[in-house]
């Protein structure tokens, strides 16, 4: 079964015919070609596929695309503002918070939403806010440092 939905993706309003069993992950990655969204487990555990729906971080592998009708989706490709890196993106580069980079888009989006809510968090608050995003390379120290740096900026 297909269904027509209206959805805004990274600021662009789209009307799409999609199958009703598609996940949001399938829609953004396979159909719209936004490859910055990564799949690490397809079970909603690792956080790699995180995107924002109306500014709220969501595991796109667990979200049905048809449920996003009328909503606004932001992927990593939409995090830049007017082509400029988001302060978090710059902080991740500067702090050496990126290794293999596979978890990075999901973490950046999770933290971008979090800093909107809490612009000046403590380090412990950042740790807690990031508990649902797994990284196997960095040991997290530099990721937390980068978020603190971006929040202070």
């Amino acid at each position: 079964m297909t269904q027509s939905i209206s959805i805004t993706v990274n600021g662009e309003a789209l009307t799409l015919d999609i199958a009703d069993n598609w996940t949001l992950f399938h829609l953004v990655k396979d159909t719209l070609g936004l490859i910055g969204t990564k799949d690490g487990c397809r079970q909603g555990v690792c956080g790699s596929c995180t995107v924002l729906i109306d500014g709220v971080p969501i595991r796109s592998c667990m979200a049905l695309a048809v449920r996003c009708d009328g909503k606004s989706v932001t992927t990593i490709e939409g995090l830049r503002v007017n082509g400029e890196l988001h302060p978090l993106q710059q902080a991740f580069i500067d702090a050496g918070a990126v290794q293999c980079g596979y978890c990075t888009p999901g973490i950046l989006l999770t933290m971008a939403a979090y800093l909107e809510e809490n612009p000046t968090p403590t380090e412990d608050e950042v740790r807690e806010a990031l508990i649902g995003n797994l990284c196997r390379c960095t040991g997290y120290a530099r990721i937390i440092r980068a978020v603190m740096k971006a929040s202070a900026a």
């Binding site: 799949d39 079970q43 990593i76 580069i93 293999c100």
Partner: protein, 783 residues
Amino acid sequence: MDVKTKHAPSFRYVGKPIKRGEAVDKVKGQWVYGTDLVLPGMLYAKALRSPYPHARIVSVDVSRAWRLAGIRVAITGKDVDYLFGSAIRDEPFIARDKVCYAGEPVAAVAAMSEEIAREAIDLIDVEYEELPCVFDPLEAMKDGAPLVHEKLGSYAAESTFTTYPGTNICNHTKIRRGDVERGFSEADEVYEDVYTTQYVQHCPLETHVGIAQIASDGAVTMWSNSQAPYNFVRDMGNALDLPYNMIRIISTGIGGGFGSKIYLRPEPLAVALAKFADGKPVKHAFTREEEFTSCVTKHPTHLTFKTGVKRDGTLVARKITAIFNTGGYADTGPQVARNGAFSGTGPYRLDNIWVDSYCVYTNNPQAGAFRGYGVPQLTWAHESQMDDIAYRLGIDPVEIRMRNLFELGDTTCTGEVLRTSVGAKETLRRAVEVSDFGKPLAPSGNPKIARGRGLATMHKLTYTPTTSTAIIKMHQDGTINILSSTLEMGQGIYTALRQIVAERLELPLEHIRISPPDTDYTPYDQTTSGSRSVFHMGNALMLASGHLIDQLRELGCQQLDCLIDEAEYREGAVWRKNTNEFLSACDIITGHFGPRGSTIQGQGTFTPPGAKVPDKENGQSPKVSAFWMYATHVADVEVDIETGQVTVLRVVAAHDAGRIINPDGAEAQIEGGVVQGLGATLHEEMIVKDGIILNPTFAEYKIPATMDVPEIIPVFVETEHDEGPYGAKGLGEPVLAPISPAVANAVFDAVGVRIPSLPITPGKVLCALEENRRTGGSMKEGA
């Protein structure tokens, strides 16, 4: 003095914290990984996997799968008669007669979508007849145990292994040095202890992906997130009996490897399907569950250490029996078990040594390369026992190590005399100093929380001999492309290699780019693993740079009308010595080749000089490793006496990695490695019952998250290596090894119990505490 610190020259790039270049693409979501790749006409593969760990395949029927719309290929083991394997060619692309582990493919499909492929495998009918199984490697070594491979002995195998056909032993590594029995008789005390390690999964965030396409002439192209494309050329070429120039590996971005992506895993099935796909590319991406069931894991080990010591703590003799449970197929297990053995007696002087390391087939999941390649397991044992011995003799853990640690001129268990860069003692000194090891820890303030501090020292070899080759291509405008097959998988190697070349060629770092590996174009590199890349590829690039400079000088002196000896290379130009006359690289290339120019290629091949595979009978070799890395970790822990929970408060990690090329990247390697090691120390374990993995998901198999991370203090001891590029050695792998015993030793310090088996779970700690109470053991007072 065992530490060599040369006069430090002033470097432009070496030793500087240069930010990694590819991070920009990564934060923007533009770095393309294997999972991201979609090719024109691509089909999606899916395997049907055996639910049984050991069973005869009576029949496989794929006819119902063919009825689905969108199905393009459906095959069984009967359709592809190939065996692969890096050490022993024992593994079919798809099981034919029997399965040797649960999770082995028995049939496969390729379809127009992932969804159709998933649906199709549910329509395949398989009849199995269960066979007697063997899961415990100690049982598997006994006479009369069920055989996992009746055909062992008939498989093609590397001649450096000792296999015993008619048994489950697929490699036996022997080290014989001195007279171990006489050593024991001369010792004041002899202790025998057993230590064990568990199943750990690599868990790269990106799963394994192989895409295969076969041309009309049979040439195979694979897109892969592999750490070692040239391994794939050789192993796939051998499996298909194809000339190596008909195998091409195009590397994609890699979302973490940790050793799991060194050898063929999803690729054979992709190739098998591609043979029937009429030229279409076939993508086989592992699911997260397949990463657990059908990939490779860290080897669980059973380690018996018998050690003779003098009363003052001097080590006299050591006998080790190490048993590596390698599962249903060998993969690289024989190499891992051998490599572990070579480090097994620790970084300590010992005259009398006897090591037997066995790699044993069972009907369990396959084990293979894991960051550290067998060394973390042996380190777990020698460093746990070191503290056990120190405690029994009443000697301080630092003192007993200082008494025995290697210095320049000492000989390893493999008979190699250490002639350069032995920083073992210095890592211990520095770790002790930075951690204030000698001073008591502040009490927790809670009588139920005991605090303790422990340390562990280790050494690690790198797989040797291996070769790296590189081409440095200079364009007419003087800018550089590095052609190498070393892979960036998060460890920061692209940045380090660019720093080395920029330093050597005295060029701006921005002028040096690395071309992505593609085996049709980039020359041989054995593998990106074993902490070998900075040393081996760094040296190949030094040689290639020298070759490029020689050519520029040669062409430059003709144009400057001077002798070659008068032509001097500096900063991308050739100067006539002691004059102000010079020609830029651009001038030289244009002058020689005309206005349209050309490129100039410098090439370099590096194999460590004097390296030799050890003798099969005694494990002796003049050089078993291109270089040795050393480290000492100190862990401060808290133990909850009521719950058994161990919390690590702080880790000081002192490493001798030779000269550090990029301190920023090196510190990041330590931070990440310590945390990965802590996962394996405290909680990570694949629970395997009767060959079946009970926790094959991220929800049930927990890797460390943000709340699990202690303070980590990296320390570098830069003992330069005579043969390393600018004195560098390697770093990534050793980080994982000392952390586990350091934590175990800290737990002992805190509550007086020895946990000899990884991981150190609350349950084990509680049981040990209870046992101590019952037997009136040596439990210390809670802090």
